[in-house]
Subunit: 355 residues, 2 copies
């Protein structure tokens, strides 16, 4: 056995209990747990429970605010700014998108700029939240610099995730969601695990030489995806989520993983557009499904996927079978559980009993 | 001598006169001429006068409306739809972005969806138009399918251009502007001219084989830029500019170049965000310049460019020296000028006098 299986509801209760015992306010616990469990269900495990330890460490070291009091400020009729008060980005992202949806319901389009925030999990979670309410939406966040500009050799932009979503009648909403770097951090770790070199062009050393040894990634930087075009998208995220919101940008955004003395000060941009203002929901669904049918027919069977399609398949599979937590993560979580006096969501630790 | 040099004002007057003689209403002539001359100045010559002949042909064949009466429809407080009445996309894009700016001035963000339109030239023109008025903005258009979905083998999406802009105090505004395909049509023609094969992965045949001979591009399709991520961006453009606006999408958008019996029915999406609602213009400028300074310092001297930077250098150079029209284009334009009884903006044709 290499993993424990946990039901989503139990996992959610556990995450809430753990963060609650760490002093985090209920509404934040709820948002973080929902986001993490959803990430586990759709198979984005690197945004799931594996992030718990670093958040606990940031809470313990006082660089993440457990009792944040986010403040909305009206910018104009369709725009709001949210000072996240250095709380969880998951929470700021959720209440920010809900506000964008509310503004869009009133005026057709709403935009919320979040500053003074932290890592927000997966952007797909927020665009799905909006799609469930009949919205086409965008979710972006800037982050700690790990990525070079096109033509550059030193990191200056974050992996700056970008997400776009649109509703479908079957609820399996479109979710475009990607890091604007050519490689995600988790992919580097996969290469490291397999002992394989990184493909050329995906990472560079400060002297401009290509970096191929995944173990040396800390010495170099990632490149933007798609060359100059991806650099343009990463820069757009930095302007919309960073410059315009009043948050940190470039080097003034601090690392979640390696800086435990300063706030992250990352920013997010959340935009919602109310479909029903443009046409009936049914008409939108029909037009979108017609496009999806054409997309599907443009390749061999099952070769063309709608962005998000694999996530929804994972979601259904994991709902049926439960969420799998690797034993190495089980051990880490048991350590934290003991420390905070919480029962983990599995009955007996196989590690603890030695089996 | 391989080209004629023309001053921008003369070229603009000439384009207006030529389209006017083709029966096009004054306001449309003005918009098309401004867009084309600007494209020539910034060095995007494939969006300049070289497109005149195909537009004239579409006008003559009755598939482009010279006397269009675009109709705005209020969608909601911050949103408007524009039926372009099958007129020039350059015109619809311009009045659409002006409307988006007006809405943003009132409510902070404005979005205009355009349907029943045509090729709109370069998206950078519209985001610069908005930036001149203190707006951060996006401009997107869907187009005739030439690009496969990620994993697909047959064209189903247009090259779907995407543009993003932001204002700078020196007026050399940020202009991110690209086709969401891995290769522009004009780049294919460059490979053809040099007799070189296309790099692998940029084009495919309907059986899924790579297409490397640029002369056979008509038999195959382009791939999206940046793999699955670029496919996601192209799809976003199709949803925002196509599905949501009520325009054609995928195969119901017709080719400007090869279909002279049907309207193009392409759609555009124009979004403007008023910077001054978020912070003073000066503060935005200062923050943005601080980011640009960091970008510039992240590579060797002059190796990191701000998107649009080369365009502004071209703009200044061409303003000083005049716009260069290749002789082959001169000959084509003289043919059209004779047909419509217009004087071209150069005094004597070198071709006509045989020198």
């Amino acid at each position: 056995m290499t993993s424990h299986i946990v039901q989503p509801a139990s996992l959610k209760d556990y995450i809430i209990a753990l963060f609650s015992a760490s002093g985090v306010k209920t509404d934040q616990c709820e948002a973080v747990a929902s986001n993490m469990v959803w990430s586990e269900l759709v198979g984005r495990c690197n945004f799931g429970v594996s992030r718990i330890p670093v958040h606990i460490e940031r809470l313990e070291k006082g660089v993440l605010n457990p009792v944040c009091q986010p403040r909305f400020e009206s910018v104009s009729v369709s725009c709001a700014r949210l000072d996240a008060d250095n709380g969880f980005g998951h929470y700021a992202g959720e209440i920010g998108m809900e506000k964008a949806v509310e503004l869009a319901r009133e005026t057709g389009i709403g935009i919320v700029g979040v500053n003074n925030s932290n890592f927000f999990g997966t952007g797909a979670y927020f665009v799905d939240l909006a799609a469930k309410q009949g919205m086409v939406s965008l979710a972006m966040s800037n982050s700690f610099p790990k990525v070079v500009a096109y033509g550059g050799t030193k990191a200056v932009l974050g992996t700056n995730p970008f997400a776009f979503g649109a509703p479908r009648q079957n609820g399996e909403n479109l979710m475009v969601d990607f890091a604007t770097s050519s490689l995600a951090g988790s992919t580097v770790r996969e290469y490291l695990g397999k002992g394989e070199p990184l493909p050329e062009g995906l990472a560079v050393l400060p002297n401009g030489d290509p970096l191929s040894d995944p173990a040396r990634i800390g010495e170099g930087s990632l490149t933007p995806f798609g060359g100059a075009k991806g650099y343009g998208v990463a820069l757009m995220v930095e302007v919309l989520a960073g410059i315009l919101t009043g948050s940190g940008f470039s080097h003034s955004v601090k690392s979640t993983y390696s800086n435990f003395v300063e706030n992250s000060d990352s920013g997010h941009c959340l935009i919602a557009i109310d479909v029903e203002k443009w046409m009936s929901k049914l008409e939108f669904y029909q037009r979108f499904e017609a496009l999806i049918t054409l997309l599907k027919a443009s390749g061999e069977a099952d070769q063309v996927l709608l962005p998000g399609e694999v996530r929804w398949q994972n979601y259904k599979d994991n709902l049926a079978t439960g969420i799998s937590i690797p034993l190495v993560m089980v051990a880490t979580l048991e350590g934290l559980s003991n420390k905070y006096g919480i029962s983990p969501p599995w009955e007996i630790s196989l590690l603890a009993t030695g089996s």
